[in-house]
């Protein structure tokens, strides 16, 4: 078993890149897979004055639908309004706001870092610690890849920077709600007891 890095308790809803100015919310939006849907969503955010922090789009298992994961900077009141406005888009099927504590999140990072002979070993060690991969090798540079929850990717990115980052690209988060760990029946019982 390889030794790998597990991030600490830092809440994954605070991205370390933007220290606590705004609240981040993750919206998982199921949409019809049609031309122009992304434009409609992006345009709605722009028109109503909301910022998209990150955005990831891809088809789901059913080719008729795509899932858009939007990380948005808002307070909770306008979030309600933006969710309602999103619902008005004809192509939007379903919106779930994902609570970081109740969801699994994942992000992918690729970065090209300086790695001459003296640094190369250290970079490779760091990549191994983060369960990453080296996907391209140059004379004095390496391109590396890592996936995981956003706080882990933040940490990886920060540590890589000490070697000198030439280029870096992150995908933004994708997320799904956590699965139920107990049956509904049990849950209801505990609910009543509480």
């Amino acid at each position: 078993m390889s030794i790998s890095y597990i991030p600490g308790n830092g809440s994954s809803s605070d991205l370390s890149g933007t220290p606590g100015i705004m609240h981040h919310h993750v919206l998982s939006v199921l949409v019809e897979n049609r031309a122009g849907v992304l434009a409609r969503i992006a345009q709605l955010f722009s028109r109503r004055g909301y910022n998209i922090f990150s955005l990831a789009v891809a088809p789901t298992d059913e080719s008729r639908f795509s899932r858009i994961t939007i990380v948005v900077d808002v307070d909770s009141a306008p979030l309600e309004q933006i969710t309602k406005q999103l619902h008005k888009l004809i192509n939007v099927i379903k919106i779930s706001e994902l609570d970081p504590a109740e969801s699994v999140e994942c992000e992918l990072l690729v970065a090209t870092v300086n790695a001459d002979i003296s640094a190369r070993g250290h970079v490779m060690e760091l990549v191994a610690l983060f369960d990453g991969k080296i996907i391209d090798v140059g004379v004095d540079k390496l391109t590396v890849l890592a996936t995981g929850e956003p706080s882990k990717i933040d940490d990886f990115s920060e540590l890589l920077s000490s070697f000198g980052i030439v280029e870096l690209q992150r995908t933004g988060r994708v997320a799904l709600a956590k699965l139920e760990r107990q049956s509904n029946k049990l849950k209801n019982t505990t609910g009543r007891a509480g």
Partner: protein, 572 residues
């Protein structure tokens, strides 16, 4: 059956029950104009594409059926963006079809190409670019469904030329398949019970009635609810006529130019029951200071309106008619609670007192003196049938029309409320007259507005659509002039238009209308009578009115509705 895309489009419109459309042909839409020759649909050829859009709106307002406009690509499509934005703000169901360059040319900056689906995304409820002729019946069915259900609104179908020329196998879809569009029309029963409870507890309640009541065809059931509860009613600019002005519990229009009683009743109420209204800034004034002691029941078909500006104590998502019916039913089901409801006699008495103390007022000096616009509107009101459809543009004349007319029937008042589109009146009046040919239609217009869309009077003459226009000519962009007088120290910047350039009488005659000029109060009545007798062509009556007359009451922008200015004498 094989049809061309163009034939399929026209046949789809026929399947939707379209009897009239407004439009103007051009290159990209040419193929679609050929099958119109064989269709029972009446096509009205406009003189500017903006006119087609507003006519479709006027038609929809007057009839409750979706209005249809068709124009070509590029500049024609961009010319119809204003009516789309107007219809979006006022929730008017219209279907606009634009021609588009052939699919292979899209994105190449081809002649008369405009990305109209991109441009209109934020001013349509939805839009479609047709990319396969086989989709045409489905797209048309979806477009009409989206435009007319839930919160109504404009939709656009962009129709490339090669799709119009392609062949398809005709079919008509039994239903539409829109998995993301399921408007909810029934209110939640618990919320309805909570609303009734609040209505019974309140000692100073007001019904705040908006355009949603008209869209839901809910005037009758609203009247029943008002009779049952005795709660007074304000009708917003979009809802004039939804509840009769002559009813003793009708307080009239609230807002920036609302009357004292309507404005102050809302300010001092302890319960606002908002029915299809949206807390627009022109109604609330400074939002923080609006109706500070009121609890709010908010009924709207659009969930996004609930809590958008004012957080309701009882939010009810639903169609106004269905929800009001449920409220009436809930009240009748509990006679005991009804018996023990709070007494609002004092409140209604207070409002009566205000109505007597602070009526709308103006002074017509003498019959030969300078003509007051309000006098013209009162004379016109008294000389026309009570079911006359009144259509206005935007500005002072619009406010005076709303204030001084007596709207006693729903769907007799058509105006551009949310977007405030100057030039709306003439084309919208034409659309209304086409939809309701047996009714008298008077457009009340200003001189600034008239110059924006007057060319559609040519359309009206050619198509024999005998609308009547009362042109209140005060030689200024009057509302802007009023603000410059009141808030910019009488520094008049770019608001003077001249009383006689253009010569409105000659211009109207040149467009095929009967036309008259009225310069003093004496001539007002007789000239209106003459105009009312002409039914074979449009009539324009130019009234030369007092340039300095201002719209009062007024709550200046950005202040609380407590600071209402009743007249030129200033603050009370």
């Amino acid at each position: 059956m094989k049809l061309t895309g163009a034939q399929a489009l026209i046949k789809s419109l026929e399947m939707q029950g379209v009897d009239v459309m407004f439009g103007l042909p051009g290159g990209a839409i040419l193929p679609v104009y050929d099958p119109i020759l064989d269709s029972p649909i009446r096509h009205i050829l406009v003189r500017h594409e903006q006119g087609a859009g507003h006519m479709a709106e006027g038609y929809a307002h007057a009839t409750g059926r979706p209005g249809v406009a068709m124009v070509t690509s590029g500049p024609a499509a961009t010319n119809i963006v204003t009516p789309l934005a107007d219809a979006y703000m006022d929730s008017v169901p219209i279907v606009v079809i634009t021609g588009q360059v052939a699919t292979a040319s899209i994105g190449t900056d081809a002649f008369q190409e405009a990305d109209i689906t991109g441009i209109t995304m934020s001013v349509t409820k939805h839009n479609w670019l047709v990319t396969d002729a086989n989709d045409i019946p489905n797209v048309v069915a979806e477009a009409f469904h989206v435009a007319t259900t839930g919160r109504p609104g404009p939709v656009l179908i962009d129709f490339p030329k090669d799709i119009a020329n392609a062949q398809m196998d005709w079919y008509w879809p039994g239903s539409v398949d829109l998995p993301g569009y399921k408007p909810n029309s029934r209110g939640h029963s618990k919320m309805i019970a909570a609303a009734v409870k609040m209505m019974f507890e309140a000692s100073r309640p007001v019904f705040y009635v908006g355009g949603g009541v008209l869209n839901a065809r809910a005037s009758e059931v609203l009247a029943e609810l008002v009779e049952l509860t005795g709660i007074p009613v304000v009708t917003t600019l979009m809802a004039r006529g939804a509840f009769p002005d002559d009813h003793p519990l009708c307080l009239g229009m609230p807002g920036m130019h609302g009357n004292y009683t309507a404005v102050t009743a809302m300010q001092q109420s302890d319960l606002l029951i908002a029915l299809g209204s949206r807390f627009d800034d022109r109604v609330t004034g400074k939002l923080d200071g609006f109706a500070p002691h009121a609890r709010v029941v908010h009924v709207d078909i659009d969930p996004a309106e609930l809590g958008k500006l004012r957080r309701p104590d009882v939010p009810i998502v639903g169609d106004c008619r269905s929800v009001i019916e449920d409220i009436v039913r809930a009240i009748k089901a509990d006679p005991d609670a009804y018996q023990h409801r709070a007494d609002i006699t004092d409140w209604v008495g207070t409002l009566k007192g205000w109505q007597e103390k602070y009526p709308l007022k103006y002074e017509q000096p003498s019959l030969s003196g300078v003509l007051k616009p309000q006098y013209v509107i009162e004379k016109l009101r008294d000389a026309t049938p009570s079911d006359t459809i009144v259509v206005s543009g935007v500005g002072q004349h619009q406010m005076w029309a709303s204030q001084y007319w007596k709207f006693n029937h729903p769907y007799t008042w058509i105006n551009s409320g949310g977007l405030g589109t100057m030039g709306f009146a003439i084309p919208a009046a034409i659309g209304a007259k086409v939809g309701k040919p047996d009714r008298t239609v008077w457009a009340i217009d200003g001189d600034g507005c008239f110059q924006m869309t007057a060319q559609e009077l040519v359309t009206a003459s050619m198509e024999q659509i005998p609308i009547k226009v009362a042109l209140l000519n005060n030689s200024y962009l009057g509302m802007v002039r009023q603000w410059q007088e009141m808030f910019y120290g009488e520094r008049y910047s770019e608001v003077y238009l001249s009383p006689d350039l253009p010569d409105y009488v000659k211009w109207s005659e040149a467009m095929g209308c009967a036309s008259f000029r009225v310069e003093n109060a004496e001539e007002v009545g007789p000239t209106i009578e003459k105009a009312n007798e002409i039914n074979d062509r449009p009539v324009v009556v130019e009234f030369r009115t007092d340039s300095s007359e201002k719209v009062f009451p007024m709550v200046p922008a950005g202040v609380s509705n407590d600071n209402i200015i009743l007249g030129p004498e200033g603050l009370i």
